[in-house]
């Protein structure tokens, strides 16, 4: 029973030696096991920091939203690859292939459900993550550019959802994509050209499906794979997450540092498992929607955009198309991009809602929007009609500039009312504007999802 220099017993069988070669150290002494465990840990430490400030581990700082997004993206990649084996991207086959997937393939319906729910929940998670970053001031230097990367990421996730929406080729998807791409009609200049590029022709048809399939399954996943490490790397370069603190505390103190293994990793794994379990449960009980096969000759009533674009569709019902589909989105993008680049009197990174005054003002703005938006929608639906009151005006003015002016003047009045009471600084003011329009947009989206019935008239859900 001689032992060789490196301690392997020559008498053990082939299977065992193979096993040892794959998992060296598993049957050896405690010391070797410890060594190999350390290898695994150093592997993990390629992705996660060695030590993290213990205060950033607090769940109420991040709500685990970034980590949840990663888990959902991985689940989407996994189920997406599986779906690719069953799906045919041709108008005369796509719908049938989905039916085949759901009825004949083992777990086909479940896989589709997981993909569907992960995609929709990802959108919500990414949106909440965006709110968390804004309200903890995590866009101040040195995190300015990571805010932009995050916004691009958000757009990518939106586009992924949107391009995936067409693929089942049922009535729901066909008409949603028709009206959403129809909105390009109103973008001045390059609108029609863009529409033709996206549709691959004048109307939604086979080329549109080919385009969307390629974008959904190759281009956007590639973009996501590139964006994710970039986003995380910038977090690391900024010195990790923002340190949660009260307004009085200095933002330089990092506090006690603790090793990531196990403190951070265990938390991340636990959250991932809970989320996966949650998605699985939802996917078992709730099927992804599938209506009858797309029929270009019959528009369903009502025809709605995907739920995440219903805010814009709702705006479109109140404003003329040029304003609703061009000026408002462009203004939104400019405002969001410029948030980290305005000159702020104080760096509020790590403080929820910038200050305690900021918190009160944010609640005030949210409440104001909560009251004003439904009133505005009802008034515009039933009372106000400038086109009739002042005949002869072009619709751009009567349905565009006048209502927009009223909204802006109303908001400015609210702002003037609020300002002397609080003596707000710029941090708090920007936050108030953000809260007001964000709440308004959410209410518009909710109205679009649940309170628009036949003919897009207001109705109860």
């Amino acid at each position: 029973m001689g032992k060789s220099r490196n301690g392997i017993d020559h008498q053990i069988g082939f299977i065992q030696s193979l096993f040892h070669s794959i998992f060296p150290g598993i049957l050896r002494g405690v010391k070797d096991q410890e060594r190999y465990r350390r290898y695994l840990n150093t592997f993990i430490l390629h992705f996660r920091p060695r030590n993290v400030p213990s205060r950033t581990l607090r769940f109420t700082l991040t709500w685990g939203l970034g980590g949840m997004a990663v888990v959902l993206i991985l689940m989407l990649f996994g189920t997406g690859v599986l779906l690719k084996f069953a799906y045919h991207p041709f108008p005369d086959k796509a719908y049938e292939s989905i039916l085949h997937l759901q009825h004949d393939i083992q777990f086909g319906q479940l896989i589709r459900n997981i993909h569907h729910w992960s995609a929709n929940i990802l959108l919500v998670v990414v949106f909440l993550h965006f709110l968390r970053v804004f309200f903890t001031g995590a866009f101040h230097p040195p995190r300015q550019f990571n805010w932009i990367i995050g916004l691009s990421f958000f757009l990518t996730v939106l586009l992924s959802n949107f391009t995936g929406y067409l693929l089942p080729w049922d009535q729901l998807s066909f008409w949603a994509i028709t009206i959403c791409t129809g909105m390009f009609d109103y973008i001045p200049g390059a609108g029609l050209w863009l529409q033709k590029m996206i549709r691959g022709g004048a109307e939604v048809g086979p080329s549109t499906l080919t385009n969307f399939y390629a974008i959904h399954t190759v281009i956007l996943p590639a973009v996501i794979i590139l964006f994710m490490p970039f986003h995380f790397w910038r977090v690391r370069k900024a010195g990790g997450l923002v340190i949660p603190r009260t307004p009085e505390e200095d933002n330089e103190t990092r506090g006690e540092m603790v090793p990531s293994i196990p403190n951070l990793i265990v938390r991340e794994i636990a959250l991932a498992l809970i989320l996966i379990a949650f998605i699985l449960v939802i996917s078992v009980f709730f099927n992804a929607p599938l209506e009858s096969k797309a029929n270009p000759g019959l528009s369903p009533n009502p025809t709605k955009a995907p739920w995440y674009f219903l805010g814009f569709q709702e705006i479109l019902l109140h404003f003329s198309p040029l304003i609703a589909l061009f000026f408002i989105p462009v203004l939104m993008i400019i405002a969001l991009v410029s948030i980290p680049y305005m000159h702020y009197p104080s760096n509020t990174a790590g403080v929820w809602f910038a200050s305690s005054k900021g918190r009160r003002m944010a609640i005030g703005a949210t409440a104001a929007a909560l009251i004003a938006t439904p009133i505005g929608i009802l008034l515009d639906e039933y009372v106000v009609d400038f086109a009739v009151w002042i005949p002869g005006l072009s619709p751009v003015i009567s349905q565009g500039l006048i209502p927009l002016g009223i909204v802006l003047v109303g908001f400015y009045g609210f702002y003037l009312l609020l300002k002397p009471r609080y003596h707000a600084n710029k941090n708090e003011t920007v936050q108030v504007v953000f809260c007001f329009f964000l709440t308004a947009f959410i209410i518009l989206t909710i109205t679009g999802i649940w309170f628009r019935g036949s003919g897009m008239r207001l109705s109860w859900p």
């Binding site: 033709k196 549709r199 691959g200 528009s299 025809t303 003919g455």
Partner: protein
């Protein structure tokens, strides 16, 4: 190493004229950008929707709707293959009206009882001439070119014609002499 000495070594290593050097560097960058630009153009040209080869006026796009007498006054007939409605007005004139709503592109059905096209998507409505009765549609329904040969109504579906308002000259009449 002093700053002077370092500078001297640098000059020995790169004896060329610094302005020439920077010029060449800029040239490389410029060429790189140009190559990228060309590449982008190439991709765009590749992705641009290809022309199907069928043009307006080709015999393939022309649909023979039927003899003039087949269509009653003040009636609307749907042509599913051509994606249009053939409208015969009360005065006997013809219009070939696109079935696509001018708001966001939904398909508008003709409601015979109410005598109007009603879009199910956003409640736009159009009369028999395609004129807007109810917004949000911004302009009348698009037209297709319609002509009457030997008392046969024919429609060229190759090109949709946008219009900002209804005008009398859009209506096509059968020649009275023949009837």
């Amino acid at each position: 190493m002093s700053e002077k000495k370092r500078k001297k070594i640098k000059e020995e290593q790169f004896p060329q004229d610094p302005s020439r050097r920077s010029f060449l560097n800029k040239l490389w960058i410029g060429l790189g950008i140009l190559a990228l630009f060309e590449f982008a153009l190439l991709v765009m040209a590749y992705l641009r929707p290809s022309k199907t080869g069928v043009k307006s006026g080709d015999s393939e796009t022309i649909i023979e709707a039927g003899p003039v007498a087949k269509f009653h006054l003040d009636s609307v007939t749907a042509f599913i293959r051509g994606k249009f409605y053939l409208c015969r007005l009360e005065d006997g004139g013809f219009l070939a009206v696109s079935r696509k709503c001018t708001h966001l592109g939904c398909t508008v059905p003709w409601l015979d009882k109410e005598k109007r096209f009603a879009c199910p998507c956003h409640a736009s409505a159009f009369d028999i001439k395609g004129e807007v009765i109810n917004p949000p549609a911004p302009r009348p329904l698009d037209l297709y070119r319609l002509f009457i040969e030997n008392n046969m109504v024919k429609v060229d579906t190759g090109k949709r014609i946008k219009r900002s308002e209804f005008r009398a000259e859009q209506v096509v009449y059968a020649k009275k002499v023949q009837t």
